[in-house]
């Protein structure tokens, strides 16, 4: 609380991003965990909640006569443009937010103070919801080829690896330890995915410390062991996901890549995915394009191109496809690494798994996959997501790219995924929100030290409880599209801009009617109908049997009560004209008055949703609700009509 310099500011304006002339005036409150903007308009209270941990930056601009602008960029891509009446207040809010949004220690993170109404027993059960051992046994492990190794039990061999790892049956502890000494951060080759059908496996590691000529017998034995664990194959791929130039540069630092001559029967392959710094800058550029105020089509497409973002997404997906095909079509095992083996490697292994295994395209499966390839294998969430005030050069949207690859696949295979885009977006928000303990810290060891399992809640069980919200209505487990390996198109035109994530809060940009919601409502209704059908049938048989008996059935209250199909609702949410008049104002400078048409006076085109003040204060994520502008209109328009008619 000591960081809050000013708990409340009145007469703050929140500008509309699409048309800045539409704005709302309200009161801004700062609490220990949230900024809350409250508007009271015509007796309707409207609240916008922003979690401090979701604030990416707060920028104070030079004061203007109308006040001092404060622009808040959030990690979930929400942008809030406040104008605060007095510079002094703006200054205080700005300083407070800067401090509150950049905690200096883990203890300050929201997950440690987030206390939903759940008792301790239940809280502990949340963490048992996902167990990676179950996933390995689903893959058929351990078996005669792969075993669970206790070698990293105490994080002695690699402090960024998980305690439980699967290695080839023939890999002895000395081989593992020897190999780990020849790999960056001790991240020796370990199993990520195993295909029961053909024994091919995906393994992952960090780069070898090969320099210009160094060798390591144990490392060579380790790869040999991986190769031998796939009895049907006489070679394996080693995939370095870095651009070749980057890998060569690493040799000078005593790192590098495998020399094909030193390892028996490997095929070495570079796949040029750029490093975290390139990705960070690329996303930043793309977000600037998303934020342009009424851009032309050229502005947008040029900006998208020069950001390079879709090119990078394509590179990640291409790499995933290469590996998935090696495993599924050639039956060849693959070892994947990059530099440290926690960014590009995580992306590529998890994308390959989604392509390979229908299980990872289910709601539970995608959670397991993130838990395995990202959380347990030590993707540095706290560094990459900037959970704490840290080195800005460590920040990078690596996990965003994975989620986007999945989304791109969902666009190409609409029936293949059990979940909808909404699940990906929710996961994305919570990776950054720090509301749950899952993504806190940089590796398993850190999370154990922080007592994450003891002190915080787990996102996975929360999502599972609400999993009906995330169902893709087009998914059917027995659909042909659901089965086996996905073979996506990687032609450039197959990649789309993910408006749903990057322009998520610009409500006006999204389709005004949702096919997904419509179908989901239909399916719910179908379910009710099935129940009614069964009960009617039963009653009829009963009645027919009970001839002569006096039975008074109370007519079942089965009047068709179609679930609100959210259509009318959706439509009224955002169905107001946009600013179509750009050219008009500039092209007719002689315009006699500026009051003209075309600025629809309803100020309520809410392009940022407001968050209801739910009991669990799920800020930034749930419950979009905004007021309908249509009611207003229907009262406004007839007035002018009346005048017109009476005059006529």
């Amino acid at each position: 609380m000591e960081h809050i310099r000013l708990p409340k500011v009145e007469n703050v304006r929140l500008l509309d991003r699409v048309s800045p002339r539409r704005s709302r005036v309200g009161t801004l409150y700062l609490t220990a965990t949230h900024s809350i903007f409250v508007v009271n308009e015509a007796g309707v209270r409207n609240e916008t909640w922003v979690l401090h941990s979701l604030v990416f930056s707060a920028e104070k601009q030079a004061a203007t006569p109308s006040g001092c602008p404060l622009i808040i960029h959030c990690k979930n891509f929400q942008v809030l443009h406040f104008v605060i009446p007095r510079e002094r207040e703006c200054h205080d809010v700005h300083l407070s937010l800067q401090r509150l949004s950049q905690p200096e220690s883990y203890e300050e993170l929201y997950c440690f103070s987030y206390k939903p109404n759940v008792d301790e027993v239940e809280r502990r059960q949340e963490w048992d919801f996902l167990d990676l051992k179950t996933d390995y046994s689903r893959m058929g492990l351990p078996n005669s080829l792969w075993k669970l190794s206790p070698v990293n039990r105490h994080y002695k061999v690699s402090d960024t690896y998980p305690a439980d790892l699967f290695v080839p049956e023939s890999a002895t502890p000395p081989v593992i330890v020897g190999s780990s000494k020849f790999r960056s951060r001790g991240r020796f080759p370990a199993l990520s995915y195993y295909s029961k059908e053909n024994h091919a496996a995906i393994c992952r590691s960090s780069q070898p410390l090969s320099g210009f000529s160094a060798r390591c017998l144990e490392d060579e034995q380790m790869l040999e062991a991986i190769l031998r664990s796939n009895p049907c194959s006489d070679f394996m791929y080693v995939v370095d996901t870095r651009p070749k130039l980057n890998a060569i540069a690493n040799r000078a630092a005593g790192k590098g890549y495998e020399n094909e001559d030193n390892y028996s029967n490997i095929k070495f392959q570079f796949i040029g995915i750029e490093n975290i710094h390139v990705m960070r800058n690329s996303q930043q550029k793309m977000l600037e394009v998303c934020e342009l105020r009424s851009p032309s089509m050229s502005d947008f497409l040029e900006g998208l191109e020069s950001s390079g973002w879709l090119k990078h997404i394509k590179a990640v997906l291409d790499a995933g496809i290469f590996i998935a095909k090696a495993v599924a079509e050639e039956g060849v095992s693959v070892l994947v690494h990059c530099s440290d083996g926690w960014d590009r490697t995580a992306q590529v292994c998890s994308v390959a798994s989604v392509l390979l295994d229908p299980y990872y395209r289910t709601i539970r499966g995608i959670m397991v996959l993130i838990e395995k390839d990202w959380i347990s294998f030590g993707h540095k969430f706290s560094h990459r997501c900037n959970h704490l005030d840290g080195d800005p050069k460590e920040v990078s949207p690596v996990i965003d790219q994975f989620l986007e690859c999945v989304w791109q696949l969902m666009e190409q295979f609409p029936c293949a995924f059990e979940f909808s885009e909404r699940l990906l977006i929710t996961i994305h928000s919570h990776i950054y929100s720090c509301q749950y303990g899952n993504f806190i810290g940089n590796n398993q060891r850190e999370r154990i030290e922080l007592g994450v399992r003891e002190r915080t809640h787990s996102l996975w069980s929360h999502l599972w409880t609400n999993h009906a919200d995330y169902i893709n209505p087009l998914y059917r487990p027995d659909h042909s599209q659901t089965q086996g390996l996905l073979r996506p198109s990687t032609a450039p035109y197959s990649f789309k801009f993910w408006r749903g994530l990057y322009n998520r809060f610009d409500r006006g940009m999204h389709p005004r009617q949702s096919v997904e919601d419509y179908l989901r409502a239909i399916q719910e209704e179908t379910q009710q109908l099935e129940e009614q059908l069964a009960s009617h049938k039963q009653k009829i048989t009963q009645l027919e049997q009970e001839q002569g008996w006096s039975v008074t059935w109370k007519a079942a209250t089965c009047d068709k009560s179609p679930t609100v199909r959210a259509l009318g609702n959706d439509l009224s949410l955002a169905n107001t004209p946009q600013d179509y008049t750009d050219g008009f104002i500039t092209n007719s400078p002689k315009a006699p008055d500026d009051s003209l048409i075309l600025q629809p006076q309803d100020s309520s085109q809410t392009s940022e949703p407001s968050f209801s003040n739910g009991s669990d204060q799920e800020s930034g994520i749930a419950d979009l609700s905004c007021r309908s502008p249509l009611s207003e209109d229907s009262t406004r328009d007839p007035d002018s009509d009346e005048a017109a008619y009476s005059a006529a």
Partner: protein
């Protein structure tokens, strides 16, 4: 002229057909007066029937004595025919070339086509002006153009203000480009505001005026009301038009009206845009950067955005500002119609039904004199310098598709209907899109000699195929987003032949299945409920008796 003269080789055996994403077919190639037919010797293999008029351009290649003809179609499909024998290949290609570029309209297939289906309703009579415009009091249907003498591109009947007589119309027509005096395009029932369209006023450099024109335009406004003139050209272009006798309305002469200039592209620029877009879509080997930069350079999406924005503006003036609107560009037959027709999609729920949309195309495009025959004579693969051809109508359909994507439950038809109209506008067995105006159609006796596309569409089987399972009638004005992020590339047309649509088709089927299963259950439950009710009422009766 006999077609036989043009067919040098009517039949070649051992021809191999290559199509993207489909297995190759070997068979016999036949040329008829109107079709290129390839049928395989095996059973169960589909035949290819291609209208010569659908062929945009062809290319020949030779490897030894094996020749290949690459056929590029107006519907953007590209197929390859491998023809054994150099002479056969040359003969076939020159025959195709001749047959696909016939000059005379009366030789076109629609004049030879005999429907294989029962015509339930003759589409030529489905959308008569007297059925549409009869109820707008303050407006009347004028017969001034019955013999097409006042305006060659207008239909015989046009809706004009009641107080304006035919003599005035004749005078006004001399002051408007192509004689296109202002006529009623749309009447907004909600507030009585109207949308009109016209050709540009012929003010010329010395600022010619026409009292009758001013009178007519003002007669459409109620006292004290304002109107907006949407000129689809920039101020500069409109200024330049004066030098060629054209121009724009001076506000001094039309005091109740305000002029708004928008920048919609002219037809030759649009044709270029289409060619570039299709070229980008067909370039299989390029990188992401090159694809995005080519997409941008084609300006297609920019055109979509500008047209849609202008239509929204017109709709906004009418619905939100309670003002009437007059739309024109230069001729009033291209960008003007894009704007007036799209504005109606936004404003009028009727236009979002299958039949209403047909009516809209009939009124705002066919009767309004969009020169289909000129505009659709070539498509994206044309090798010649564009003169009169332009994808004006395709852009309109693209804009409708964009709105459909944003309001997927508000249209009675689905995407296939838009694709169907695109195909038939460029090549068809039906006479609907032949000719450039109502006058042409009457001269060609199309209603007597050809079948209307609407006769085909308005049959139950076809209507079912074209209808949108998500449709729930909605009487609202629908305001689309015109942000670049909201406007997508129309894959169903531009990527249709470049990628397999299997997964997307399956998703569509799945959606239909979900909805149909729901309906089926509803029917079952209802019938059981009735049965149950009968049983319940019977029982006590039995007891009492």
């Amino acid at each position: 002229m006999e077609f036989a003269e043009l067919i040098k080789t009517p039949r070649v055996d051992g021809v191999v057909l290559h199509r993207p994403f489909l297995p190759t077919v070997e068979g016999t190639l036949c040329l008829t007066g109107h079709h290129l037919i390839l049928s395989s010797r095996q059973d169960n293999t589909e035949e290819l029937w291609l209208l010569h008029s659908n062929i945009d351009s062809i290319e020949k290649r030779f490897v030894g004595s094996l020749g290949s003809i690459i056929v590029k179609c107006k519907d953007l499909r590209v197929i390859q025919l491998d023809i054994p024998g150099m002479e056969e290949c040359l003969n076939i290609s020159s025959s195709i070339e001749a047959l696909s570029t016939l000059d005379s309209v009366s030789l076109m297939y629609p004049f030879f086509y005999r429907p294989m289906f029962e015509v339930i309703e003759d589409g030529w009579n489905s959308f008569l002006p007297q059925d549409f415009y009869w109820w707008f009091y303050e407006w009347r249907l004028s017969e001034v153009n019955t013999d097409f003498s006042v305006c060659l591109s207008y239909p015989p009947l046009v809706a004009v203000p009641k107080d304006v007589d035919d003599d005035t119309l004749r005078k006004v027509s001399t002051f408007r480009h192509g004689g296109r005096f202002p006529v009623l395009s749309y009447y907004h029932k909600k507030n009585g505001m109207v949308m009109m369209r016209a050709g540009q006023p012929l003010t010329g450099t010395n600022g010619r005026r026409c009292k009758e024109d001013e009178k007519l335009i003002n007669a459409t406004l109620r006292p004290g009301k304002r109107g907006y003139i949407i000129d689809t050209r920039t101020v500069n272009v409109a200024q330049q038009a004066k030098a060629r006798g054209g121009g724009f309305e001076l506000e001094a002469n039309y005091p109740q009206w305000r002029r708004i200039h928008k920048a919609l592209e002219r037809s030759n620029v649009l044709q270029d845009s289409l060619i570039k877009l299709v070229e980008a879509c067909n370039d299989q080997n390029h990188s992401m950067d090159r694809w995005l930069s080519k997409l941008e350079a084609s300006s297609w999406q920019s055109n979509v955005k500008e047209i849609l924005t202008t239509a929204c503006l017109a709709a906004q003036c009418i619905d939100r500002e309670g003002a009437s609107v007059l739309v024109h560009g230069t001729e009033g037959t291209d960008s003007t119609l894009q704007v007036t027709s799209l504005a109606q999609i936004i404003l009028d729920p009727t236009c979002r039904t299958i039949r209403g949309f047909q009516g809209l195309v009939e009124r705002e495009w066919l009767q309004a004199g969009h020169p289909f025959q000129q505009r659709c004579s070539q498509s994206a693969f044309s090798n010649t310098k564009p003169r009169v051809e332009a994808p004006v109508f395709l852009l309109f359909l693209d804009c409708v598709w964009q709105i459909l994507r944003q309001f997927p439950c508000s249209f009675e038809f689905c995407e296939s209907f838009l694709v169907l109209l695109f195909e038939h506008a460029y090549a068809s067995q039906f006479g609907t899109f032949l000719g450039n105006s109502a006058a042409d159609r009457s001269k060609l006796s199309l209603p007597e000699k050809t079948v209307s596309l609407w006769s085909w569409v308005n049959r139950p089987q076809e209507l079912e195929r074209l209808s949108n399972p998500l449709y729930e009638a909605n009487s609202l004005v629908i305001w689309p987003s015109v942000a670049p992020q909201s406007l997508l590339l129309w894959e169903g047309v531009f990527l249709r032949w470049n990628r397999s649509s299997k997964c997307l088709d399956e998703a569509y089927e799945e959606m239909v299945h979900i909805i149909e299963y729901n309906k089926e259950l509803q029917n079952k439950v209802n019938s059981l409920r009735r049965q149950l009710a009968e049983l319940e009422t019977e029982d006590p009766l039995l007891q009492e008796s």
